[in-house]
């Protein structure tokens, strides 16, 4: 893998609302290389989607406001680009798949037309050529009878087929980066397996980098090279998939993993959930945002805001104690790897 495609640099996106300032993204940094898959994990309200929308410049401003930081695509600042320039990139170089394929397709246009639109806009194709290409794209994502299906409206497609159509649309222009925001959450497991396999195949063929935003640790374990765990708008842990799954170094990551019922393990009995609930982003706890729910929290956690600190190559954690050698999780879940 070579070549840095995308660099997010201490990005902060706040929303100024009547109820106060919502710190939706509060200091996110990472880089994405060609052909790589980054998994972004977190619960609702952790800022994972807003981070993606910000780098696509899809956040309405106001109420949104970039407090600090920037996003660089191939070295160029996205946030200070002119509108026509970002429009040329959005959908062409960076494409996005949304969670809900029903609301993200236009119900009054035929599928083929919607697939052809980016080709006409970005590639300057004629509508006729673009619609012919749309049929090929539908075939590529495994829609049977693509020629007649292209004349269907979204409501005539099943959920899985709509998501395939979304993927076909996102990949129409061979983007460098594909942002997938919970692409399989609305789908059944057997369809989820199809979609994930499809995305992996396409990635192998085209070398597209993928940012996979999900709450499903299983999906991340399956596809990601690197993982970023987010909590209350901040990254709390970042590392390779191996590092984060087999040697997690943040109590929130531990909590997430212990909360999961596991079908591959025979343990029955109580799960170990994280106490309490995620904080309101208007009123993020002082110090470490996780401290009110953290079973390991000490007084210092209430006052000091932990930075993301590098622990070993490629692995960092935003916990004040992550570096301590005796700060270990005795997990209930085995690692599945002999150490």
């Amino acid at each position: 893998m070579s070549g840095e495609l995308l660099r997010v640099d201490d990005l902060k996106m706040y929303f100024y609302t009547r109820d106060g300032v919502v710190k939706a993204v509060d200091g996110v940094s990472y880089t994405l290389n060609k052909g790589e898959t980054l998994g972004v994990v977190g619960e609702s309200g952790s800022g994972k989607s807003v981070t993606a929308l910000t780098m696509m410049r899809l956040v309405p401003m106001p109420p949104g406001k970039v407090e600090s930081g920037d996003v660089f695509f191939k070295g160029e600042s996205i946030l200070s680009m002119k509108e026509d320039k970002i429009r040329a990139i959005r959908g062409d170089r960076i494409a996005m798949i949304f969670q809900d394929p029903m609301t993200s397709l236009n119900p009054v246009y035929r599928i083929g037309h919607q697939l052809a639109e980016p080709l006409v806009i970005h590639k300057g194709m004629s509508w006729k050529d673009a619609e012919a290409r749309a049929v090929e794209l539908l075939e590529m994502v495994g829609i049977p009878n693509p020629a007649s299906r292209a004349r269907d409206y979204p409501h005539q497609f099943s959920g899985g087929m709509r998501q395939r159509a979304m993927i076909a649309m996102a990949l129409a222009c061979d983007p460098d980066i594909l942002i997938a925001d919970e692409p399989t959450t609305a789908l059944d497991v057997t369809i989820q397996a199809q979609i994930i396999e499809l995305m992996q195949e396409l990635q192998e063929r085209t070398g597209t980098a993928i940012i996979m935003i999900t709450h499903d640790l299983g999906v991340v374990a399956d596809v990601a090279n690197n993982v970023m765990v987010m909590y209350a708008g901040r990254p709390v842990e970042y590392g390779t998939t191996e590092q984060v799954f087999y040697n997690p170094r943040h109590p929130y990551t531990w909590g997430l993993m212990d909360s999961l019922p596991r079908q591959d393990l025979t343990k029955k009995g109580a799960l170990s959930p994280i106490d309490g609930q995620p904080p309101s982003l208007v009123d993020v706890p002082t110090g470490c945002a996780f401290h009110p729910r953290c079973p390991y929290a000490k007084d210092v956690c209430k006052t000091r805001n932990p930075e993301l600190v590098m622990l070993e190559k490629g692995h960092s954690s935003a916990c004040l104690f992550a570096g301590d050698s005796d700060f270990v999780r005795k997990s209930a879940v085995s690692t599945g790897r002999s150490e």
Partner: protein, 342 residues
Amino acid sequence: MSELLRVEHLTKHFPVEQGELLPHVGKSVQAVDDVSFAVEEGETLGLVGESGCGKSTTGRCIIRLIEPTDGRILFQGEDIRRFKGRELKAFRREAQFIFQDPYASLNPRMTIGEIVSEPLVIHKIATHTERLNRVKEYLEIVGLNPEHINRYPHEFSGGQRQRIGIARALMLNPKLIICDEPVSALDVSIQAQVLNLLGELQDEFGLTYVFIAHDLSVVQHISDRIAVMYLGKLMELSDWKSLYTAPYHPYSQSLLSAVPVPDPVKQRARKRIILQGDVPSPIDPPSGCRFHTRCPIAKDICSQQVPELREVAPGHLAACHFAAPNPIEVEALPDPVVRHMV
């Protein structure tokens, strides 16, 4: 243990209007077709399957939220389809329902106190003060602050709302609770809290659950026995352990293999059985075995003859002509270790 609920040949077809010019009732959606199972007192039966498999319809038929087309539903030996008036009302006290959507299942214009005490009001139980005390007691049991009794649903988070729904279901001391996807709208950490709560309540009140969910890990965690449904039919029924370690039905096998496990090395080494295509329409289900259009091992007979649900191993039923166990390696876990505190 004695049998609390028995479902025999349950069938539910929803008629569909067809024709644009002259609408007429023609075909019907065969949502549930000839489903039979029994639930013992104090156990949890998991009903699992993908959308449209009929699991929710089955749940709704069991407490007569909808009327079945055919079949019998025996609750403590009595056919609930015959219940009318007072009998039906008495049955409603015994069987309760927890809904999937914690946002849509609470009336936004009622306070939590009104919502949770409504079952008592409907069944004319206790005086106003007693009701209030009981509401507070149950809010506490489900882990909510009893002082929030005058708040409205929008002031609560998804997990808290689901707890409100659980408190409401518990108010009448039911024997049976149908949980329809009670945790699927919740975040993982909150989901684990609610699952633990349901487990605790079962022990405390001796509840029997029919737990409907599409998430196989969740179902495995909470269920004693599990029924796998596909397109209105029961495909496999067994205790959780033999289903997860040696599923017999090719549909269960592919379903289990499709769920990614949160362990990168293990997950990437797993063999996935990817099913082709989508679930066919329940209006015109495939002939013979309904799964044959997507089944990796289907043969001619599968499209001609409906496979019977038969015992393939002691206590393990599967509806497949070619049912054979497919062992899955499941790792035994050491007992949970107490966390090391710094």
